[in-house]
Symmetry: C2
Subunit: 418 residues, 2 copies
């Protein structure tokens, strides 16, 4: 992509009403546009990052046997009345609307109910289990407060996955596979070293569930971490009984602010019971299906990566989610830059080429803001010194390399596994 | 993908309340699930088709210079009040909802207003134009009637594109490029031979617009076609003046039922005026931006393809949108089938392998219903006769080929351009 054609403009300052760092940097960088509190549009660079995050999640869910579908935003009240979650007294963050005939509809804040109802058409016997389905789709939650940029959306992207097993044992085996899959996701997103699986409230589903929490001062949650044992507990469930169960003591716990980047639940028959999702076992006897649900928020993850990895100059994307592999900056050498640009593109290297007429200082400031972690500069000076200046974001200084060395190093960088 | 793992079950009959052929076949085939009238979930095979249709649209929009973004469903009323389209008296198919503080929000039925508002941050001068942005995103329309399967959704997928030009001349040049791009889309989707660009009402935007209409008895629109001249006119604008303008006479027009699969509009300053999207021209004088908007419905296209191309046995997908390239059916020869399956997969050929324990008749019936246009059968008989039976949907009978011939023919089929 050539920046001279990219329609977005960067900003030196964020809108006055933006208090969160992630929204400030993402708006200034032209990644997102604020429509209203908690509701953001994705501009070209932001959409590229979102798609890369989503694809990493998708790959890891496919790897545990998840089958991708797409459900709907609009929700009929019937099945939610069966489960007891239609009422605004039970669920306080529904957005609701109406058909022309006055029938009330809801906007999906989660999808346990419709997926349970849907699977009744596709599960008959023990031979049809286990099954696991997931979607990556917009969710709507009528939050009272939305001041955390893309980390607390009223409209946001979620991967929600649902498992259907014959019994608790089959469920537990899958649940463990998902815990490992989630850890892989956070590693690939560059935040694995800051992310803990925590012992959390089960809400209305079960006694406990598990969350994944990334340490950041911008987080709305408080967790307690025993580093040595690698055990973390959410504030909401911290008590003597839990400490005893888990074998940790208070003096070894460090309190941290964190953001919840994943949540997995054992649902049991909580939904299969009222909605009547059943199967015939080997003896021909009818049994309730045993369920689990597994959520992860790609849009929240985008904000989290910005909160925890950016520096004073701007965003720093991990390589796997960077909008482009390389930021190629031309300082008055567009012809030479385009040669490299075309050659890299045909090798499958994604390049953002800054071919604009703008001062060098502005180009470097924009580049730091964009956060593509590998920069190449072609200028009169670099050509005189032998070719192209290559600089990784984490390095203090760049190096001059020849064209051949550049192409070779970039291909290694992009295609050799981390 | 192995069918023994695919969770969906096909049905011999559609739900009693489904009156449209496209919904009947897509539900029976396990492609979609009906949540309520006009609101459908996409199951794995259906999602694969939708993604392929969307990617074809995406490629053709990228080719004319479109930059992909993703806007939001939730709409603040402010900008819609500026344009006059907030009121339910003006727009009769809004879905509306509320924040907790009682502020009314709408669910986007189209996105001219928010995109015009957004571009104010990114367009300053003539140097920033022309620009073209698009999105592929869920739209919501509170239709009074929704009885046409996925061809008339209350929640549906749309590609909407918006162009921003300096003046009418620059706009017209782009508008013509889009007309050609749309024709390419329909060709690639296998319905080009049935799809006409028609002369249509401009609604509240301009005197006229253009639509793309595919001939089908399931269509809700009526168009008049002069085959020789290749000119088509929507019923709503057919009158003596229009006939005279276009140089056609009534006796050469054939009346047809059709479904609108695309609509492109010249907006002029209809939105840039009240929302104040301006640019400085070469003389430094402020001008209003000249806009166009271009819609195409991927979910409606999926239904249209089913309406116009299916036969009495089931769906027939054009190769470019088929959920898989090949349907490989094993009749008791899973080991041999898996060899082919693995080899094809590693060559980039997408294979659906029917490795289930089911009677041959049921496997063939499901295969006809699924509509993958190329089938390969491996059975005791085919192996005795030399290998594998290959049959294209359009052919009466299959042929036996060796394993090497099979792999070679399939690779040609998938990778050689039509």
């Amino acid at each position: 992509m050539k920046q001279s054609k990219l329609f977005i403009k960067t900003r030196k300052e964020a809108p006055a009403d933006e208090v969160s760092k992630n929204a400030e940097l993402l708006i200034r960088g032209g990644f997102i546009n604020k429509e209203m509190a908690g509701v953001y549009s994705y501009l070209p660079l932001g959409l590229r990052v979102m798609n890369k995050i989503s694809n990493i999640v998708r790959e890891e869910m496919d790897a545990v046997g998840g089958q991708e579908i797409k459900m709907t935003v609009l929700q009929d009240s019937d099945v939610w009345q069966k489960s007891g979650r239609w009422s605004d007294d039970v669920v306080d963050n529904w957005f609701k609307t109406k058909l022309k005939n006055e029938t009330e509809l809801g906007l999906g804040f989660t999808h346990e109910e419709p997926i349970t109802e849907m699977l009744k058409n596709h599960i008959n016997s023990y031979r049809d289990l286990p099954v696991c389905v997931y979607q990556i789709q917009a969710k709507f939650r009528n939050e009272a407060r939305a001041k955390s940029g893309v980390m607390r959306g009223r409209e946001f992207l979620m991967k929600d996955m649902y498992s259907f097993s014959k019994n608790e044992e089959e469920h537990n085996s899958f649940y463990e596979k998902v815990q490992k899959a989630y850890k892989k996701v956070y590693e690939r997103l560059g935040i694995g070293h800051l992310t803990y699986m925590t012992f959390a409230s089960g809400g209305t589903f079960s006694k406990y569930s598990h969350e994944f929490q990334t340490i950041t001062s911008a987080g709305e949650d408080t967790i307690y971490v025993d580093e040595d044992k690698g055990i973390a507990i959410n504030q909401e469930v911290l008590n003597e009984e839990v400490l005893s169960d888990l074998g940790v003591s208070r003096e070894n716990l460090v309190e941290q602010k964190a953001v919840e980047v994943g949540n997995i639940f054992t649902l049991g028959t909580k939904f299969s019971d009222p909605i009547n999702l059943v199967y015939k076992d080997e003896e021909g006897k009818e049994q309730k299906v045993f369920m689990g649900s597994y959520g992860i928020g790609p849009s929240r993850l985008m904000g989290t990566i910005v909160e925890v990895l950016s520096d004073e100059k701007g965003i720093i994307w991990p390589k796997e989610v960077s909008p482009f592999h390389v930021h190629l900056i031309s300082l008055g050498e567009n012809e030479k830059a385009e040669e490299i640009y075309n050659e890299l593109n045909s090798s499958g290297v994604e390049v953002l080429l800054d071919d604009r007429e703008a001062p060098a200082g502005e180009k470097f400031a924009d580049s730091d803001l964009f956060g593509i972690p590998l920069r190449v500069v072609v200028s009169k000076r670099s050509l005189e010194e032998g070719g192209y200046e290559i600089k990784y974001r984490k390095d203090e200084k760049g190096r001059i390399v020849s064209k051949e060395e550049l192409i070779s190093e970039l291909k290694d960088y992009v295609f050799k596994t981390l």
